[in-house]
């Protein structure tokens, strides 16, 4: 019976995604599978958190907590949804809590702080002039400020949609809301961003 349940779980995971299968192996005590999951999802999670909280140190701290929670939950893990949905649900939850906890002091600090460590993509020249560097910094700062003005849920929805290329249904599961609510969040968020960033064309 137990074997059958295990097999059913395994096939369910396989139909869902390979990550869920890896997580089931972690559940059975396979540490190597956890390392594979970490390798695969480390950057997307950290980048998402960085864009949410706009502080590299805080983002890495939160990402540590995300993977720690994943590891801690291994014994109770059930592949009822895509692994990334579960992963980003944890990440979003932690990011929203962090923003609510230290919103007033940290957000202002990091928006005024040029030492956030985020590089600017250099499209035309690998060694830009000082002027070009300053222009790029100003543009980047503007983008960061624009994203920071978005309400937390809108921000999370935009980041998952734009950078993680998630579908509406998956974003809805992460944010625990309906698909139409996600569409509404994205519509309003992009509306705000268009108003703030359209002049950058």
């Amino acid at each position: 019976m137990k074997e059958r349940v295990k097999t059913d779980m395994g096939s369910l995971a396989a139909t869902l995604d390979f990550d869920a299968e890896l997580m089931l192996r972690v559940k059975e005590g396979d540490g190597a599978s956890f390392t594979i999951l970490l390798e695969k999802h480390r950057l997307p999670v950290i980048h998402f958190l960085y864009r949410m909280v706009q502080n590299q140190g805080v983002a890495e701290e939160l990402a540590q907590e995300v993977f720690l929670r994943v590891y801690r939950s291994r014994e109770s893990y059930e592949p009822t949804a895509k692994f990334t949905t579960w992963l980003f649900r944890i990440a979003t939850h932690l990011a929203l809590n962090s923003l609510r906890d230290g919103k007033n002091q940290r957000l202002e600090e990091r928006l005024d702080d040029d030492s956030s460590g985020a590089p600017v993509r250099q499209v035309t020249d690998k060694k830009p002039s000082v002027e070009q560097y300053m222009v790029n910094q100003a543009r980047l700062d503007e983008v960061r400020r624009a994203v920071a003005t978005l309400p937390e849920k809108q921000r999370a929805a935009v980041l998952m949609h734009k950078y993680e290329e998630m579908e509406y249904s998956q974003i809805a599961k992460v944010l625990n809301c309906s698909e139409s609510a996600v569409k509404s969040l994205l519509f309003r968020a992009y509306e705000t961003l268009r108003a703030l960033l359209a002049h950058m064309a």
Partner: protein, 139 residues
């Protein structure tokens, strides 16, 4: 579909402006790259995972293989013990010995003895009245 949209955009300035602005937003967001991740991220994470392991787990970890086998061994030993007990059990039940409580003779008061004797006398007279032909009741 794409052709239809492009056709509409070429004819509708408002939608053309909307699309251009949205493209600008995408490009602006594309330019925002996050910083490099600390090289010791994984080391710190595994360190924290290791800290999660409690002292009890550390203590019992070497004994885990033993504990894993202990349950079936204990169950088997229990079964053997029950079987031995059932096989060695005597066929007849041991004689019942009166409990100590039942052997205790209560100390009687003289009034109680007197009352009892009177009752017995009354009963004897009563049986004479019922059966006047015999002094003793026939069995």
């Amino acid at each position: 579909m794409r052709a239809q949209i492009e056709q509409h955009l070429s004819a509708c300035p408002a939608c053309r402006k909307f699309a251009a602005n949205q493209r600008t937003v995408w490009q602006a967001l594309d330019s925002w790259e996050p910083a490099e991740v600390s090289i010791d991220f994984d080391r710190k994470l595994y360190q924290r995972i290791e800290q999660q392991v409690t002292w009890w787990t550390r203590l019992t970890r070497p004994l885990n293989p033993l504990f894993r086998n202990a349950v079936p061994i204990a169950a088997a030993a229990g079964l053997v013990m029950v079987a031995c007990f059932l096989m060695n059990r005597p066929a007849t039940a041991p004689p019942v010995t009166p409990s100590e409580e039942s052997a205790v003779v209560e100390t009687l008061q003289p009034e109680q003895v007197e009352t009892a004797l009177e009752d017995m006398e009354t009963l004897r007279e009563f049986s004479h009245l019922v059966r006047p032909d015999s002094a003793e009741p026939k069995m």
